[in-house]
């Protein structure tokens, strides 16, 4: 069975779920508030999302996981982040913050600057 993809924040949520399952959704809301700082609406939304992706199931307000902790691949997470959120950060005023991605030359140049500094050369 293919392991459903889970975002990092959802992963943190799942950690709580795995620890306390089976757990009433209301209880889960309270735990998320304490540990993650989430609003109740956020928690319910996440529960719904994850149930649609078959990561958990919510029956009669009791939530249980469908995927085990070990099965989740942390390595996929970063990849997802890059793909999903590419270019979605707003740009009101791009004008004078002329940053495009740093070229590898630039990265090297700056790294060198830092290294030399550490060594005591100015």
């Amino acid at each position: 069975m293919e392991i459903p993809k889970i975002f990092e924040s959802e992963y943190r949520f799942c950690l709580i779920l795995w620890e306390h399952e089976p757990v009433k959704s209301i209880e889960l809301v309270k735990l998320c508030k304490e540990q993650l700082g989430w609003k109740p609406t956020t928690t319910y939304t996440v529960i719904k999302r994850l149930s649609e992706r078959n990561v958990l199931k919510n029956e009669n307000t009791v939530v249980t996981s469908l995927v085990s902790k070990d099965a989740v691949q942390a390595a996929e997470i970063n990849e997802m982040v890059e793909k999903t959120f590419e270019g979605s950060i707003p740009a009101f005023v791009a004008a004078f913050t002329k940053h495009k991605k740093l070229s590898s030359e630039e990265i090297d140049a700056v790294q060198q600057m830092i290294d030399r500094y550490r060594k005591g050369e100015q």
């Binding site: 924040s9 540990q35 989430w38 270019g87 913050t97 630039e106 600057m113 500094y117």
Partner: protein, 713 residues
């Protein structure tokens, strides 16, 4: 709305100058801490926000109001403070928009309105975009996970940032390394402590109001940069070299996966990483002396750029909305006020004022000050606690003695009349009360096609003088327009006792006409009272004493006005004077066998007043002449003629004799219109240029004269 737009544009232009100055200062203040730069930008922001301004002599702003112009003033006008620019542009504007039309200039109003609408549209677009972007980001960080206090982690961020206006929260990516986390947090915390999460959005809001100004975009971009650098400095202030290197590493690490970052979120890896690393690595705590100097520079900068230059407008060369005060005369013993001499004034747009309070004594110390400017007078008003406000409109009048009087109107409509001696020193200051608006037809009489007319014609002309009740007698109110020119008003003696002279604005029959009107009543001479009154329209100076009353009564009942020994051919009547001049100019030029007949239509007359003595006077008439060559033997035939706008000025001596002093007509052809505009009163130019206003009446009159000529042949 166009008004607000223009105000904003002017503010923007002022701000533009300041941005240039800031750019210069930033170079000079390279060694100063970066928060100084932020203060400078703050001053720019203040300038954009302050709707009012203080005036000071320190101001370096070239001009506080570059584009001046309320939508209803005659002509737009540029005052950038740069003389060459001003003169060139204003000359162009003068040629395009004509002065004197007191109705609003539709063309200019429309252009500004369109621009104002575009401006609003721009603002809406930018604000919309900002709000939407903010909320999208806000939603994305909904699933952010709390780290501690107000620090969260989420996958929506590539670069750490601060979000939130009331309770700012720090958002970090999950992918940040342990080593870098604390350094990043201290940078973001520095942002929070400096309240940058407020300044940046505020700056953006101001920017969106001035989106059309490229300098301000530059300023905003640099502000963002300076904010980041200032934050870096705050963090590394007490760092060791190693710590500084670590911080630079964190900067670099966070920049590697960057995207373009928004104006609101305050990011970590945003501004040119190379520059920031350089700045951090080379940072040295600035000496106290440098900080003191930098702060001093800021203070001076504020004084210089937050204030406007003092406006120097010499009173008599005022650049306010100006008008002419057509009639101004003095009456003594007014019972309502306790002033000995009350001045009545009528401006060319028909507003009637009467002097109400005298303030000359408050300005006594100024009797020796020459060439006062408007701001000087305004200051004096304030010093003497006279509630004046600021001048919005100025009227001028000069009398034959050379006394110039300036009538200054403030934004509330109160008018002060300040008279000056010819050397520029203050002679008197009066506060005027507005009585109302008068019928400008009286100011510009429609026609003086001169016949006394039959009773029927008079009934049509003055219906209000007929069918009055004779119970209790009738009163003829009579006032003097000039030395031999009297006007009359008829009313029942009992039912209409006038306490004011408001009737005098509206009508007036000549003496001859009034006597014909009286003949229609079954009334004895002794039941008719003749009473001399003052008239606001007359600039003829006279004193209403017993002697004068008697004289007027006598004059009214005489069959013919008394003639003193006069030079042969002298003229006692304005109409006759005009006709004489026209006869001289045109009759001789008629070709053989033809007769030239002239008739004229009077638009306005103007008496230079108040006259300084009872007898000497000058009158200028603005007329259009219809001169036509006729062939007249058995019948009348028009051959050739034209309409000629003409301005004549007559001198009237103590005997009431008119002598021509000045005669002006416009050139024919391409210069016609510009000449008319030059020699005629601005407010009647458009009547003159539109033949339809008078052609019918004049042609009729001319034909009538021609038929009289035929009869008498």
């Amino acid at each position: 709305m166009a008004d607000i737009f223009l105000k904003t544009v002017n503010m923007s232009i002022s701000a533009g100058w300041i941005v240039l100055a800031v750019l210069l200062l930033r170079l000079i203040l390279k060694r100063a801490p970066k928060w100084i730069n932020c203060v400078l930008w703050g001053i720019v922001g203040l300038r954009l926000v302050m709707p009012f301004s203080f005036e000071s002599i320190f101001s370096l702003i070239p001009s506080p109001e570059t584009i001046s112009k309320a939508p209803d003033s005659p002509r737009p006008h540029i005052e950038s403070g740069v003389t060459v620019v001003d003169e060139t542009i204003n000359a162009y504007l003068k040629g395009t928009y004509f002065e004197g039309v007191t109705k609003s200039m539709g063309y200019f109003t429309d252009v500004t309105t369109i621009m104002a609408v575009l401006w609003l549209a721009g603002i809406i677009v930018l604000m919309f975009y900002a709000v939407i972007s903010y909320f999208r980001l806000h939603i994305k960080v909904g699933t952010a996970v709390l780290l501690r206090n107000n620090i969260y982690q989420c996958e929506a961020v590539i670069s750490p940032f601060v979000l939130g206006i009331i309770r700012p929260k720090i958002y970090l990516p999950f992918s940040i390394s342990e080593k870098d986390v604390e350094l990043v947090i201290s940078h973001e915390t520095a942002h929070i402590r400096r309240k940058d999460y407020l300044w940046k959005p505020l700056g953006f809001m101001l920017l969106s109001l001035h989106w059309f100004n490229p300098f301000l975009w530059i300023g905003y971009g640099l502000l963002c940069r300076d904010i980041e650098l200032a934050c870096d400095e705050k963090v590394v202030k007490e760092f060791t070299n190693n710590e500084k290197a670590d911080y630079s590493q964190a900067l670099l690490n966070c920049s590697v996966n960057r995207r373009l970052i928004a104006a609101c979120p305050l990011a970590f890896g945003e501004t040119g990483v190379k520059n920031r690393v350089k700045a951090v690595l080379s940072y040295k705590k600035p000496a106290v002396i440098i900080i003191i100097l930098a702060v001093t520079v800021c203070v001076i900068f504020g004084a210089v750029f937050l204030t406007n230059p003092v406006s120097e407008k010499p009173l008599l060369n005022s650049e306010f909305e100006t008008g002419r005060c057509l009639y101004s005369f003095v009456v003594s013993e007014d019972k309502e006020t306790e002033i000995n001499e009350v001045i009545y004034n009528i401006t060319e747009d028909g507003e009637v004022y009467k002097s109400f309070d005298e303030y000359t004594h408050d300005f006594l110390g100024l009797l020796t000050e020459n060439n006062m400017s408007v701001s000087d007078l305004e200051k004096r008003f304030t010093e003497k606690k006279i509630d004046f406000g600021s001048v919005t409109k100025v009227y001028f009048v000069t009398d034959t003695a050379g006394t110039e009087t300036v009538f200054m109107q403030n934004s509330r409509g109160t008018v002060f009349a300040v008279s000056f001696f010819s050397d520029g020193s203050v002679m008197s200051v009066f506060k005027l009360k507005r009585l109302g608006k008068c019928n400008t037809d009286v100011v510009y009489p429609e026609s003086t096609v001169n016949n006394a007319g039959t009773l029927k014609e008079l009934k049509d002309k003055y219906p209000e003088f007929f069918n009055l009740s004779t119970d209790g007698g009738l009163t003829v109110y009579i006032w003097q327009m000039s030395s031999m020119n009297y006007r009359c008003y008829l009313a029942n003696s009992v039912t209409e006792a006038f306490s004011d002279n408001s009737f005098a604005y509206t009508t007036g029959a000549t003496v001859t006409e009034m006597r014909i009107i009286l003949s229609s009543y079954n009334i004895k001479k002794e039941d008719v009272t003749v009473m001399a009154v003052t008239n606001p329209l007359s600039s003829y100076y006279y004193v209403l004493d017993k002697e004068y009353q008697e004289y007027v009564k006598e004059m009214f009942w005489q069959e013919e006005p008394e003639k003193t020994a006069l030079k042969e051919g002298s003229v006692l009547d304005l109409d006759a004077a005009i006709n004489d001049v026209l006869d001289e100019k045109y009759s001789g030029s008629a070709p053989e066998g033809l007769v030239n007949i002239q008739s004229y239509y009077l638009f306005a007359n103007e008496v230079a007043g108040p006259a300084s003595s009872e007898y000497i006077e000058e009158i200028t008439v603005y007329i259009v002449v219809y001169q036509m060559n006729y062939s007249i033997d058995t019948k009348i035939e028009e051959v050739e003629g034209s309409f000629v706008p003409t301005v004549m000025t007559f001198m009237i001596d103590e005997n009431g004799v008119y002598t021509l002093k000045d005669y002006r007509t416009p050139r024919k052809g391409e210069h016609f219109e510009e000449d008319v505009r030059e020699i005629f009163l601005p407010s009647i130019v458009h009547y003159v240029l539109d033949e339809e206003n008078y052609s019918e009446a004049l042609i009729e009159d001319s034909l009538f004269k021609a038929s009289e000529y035929l009869k008498n042949k």
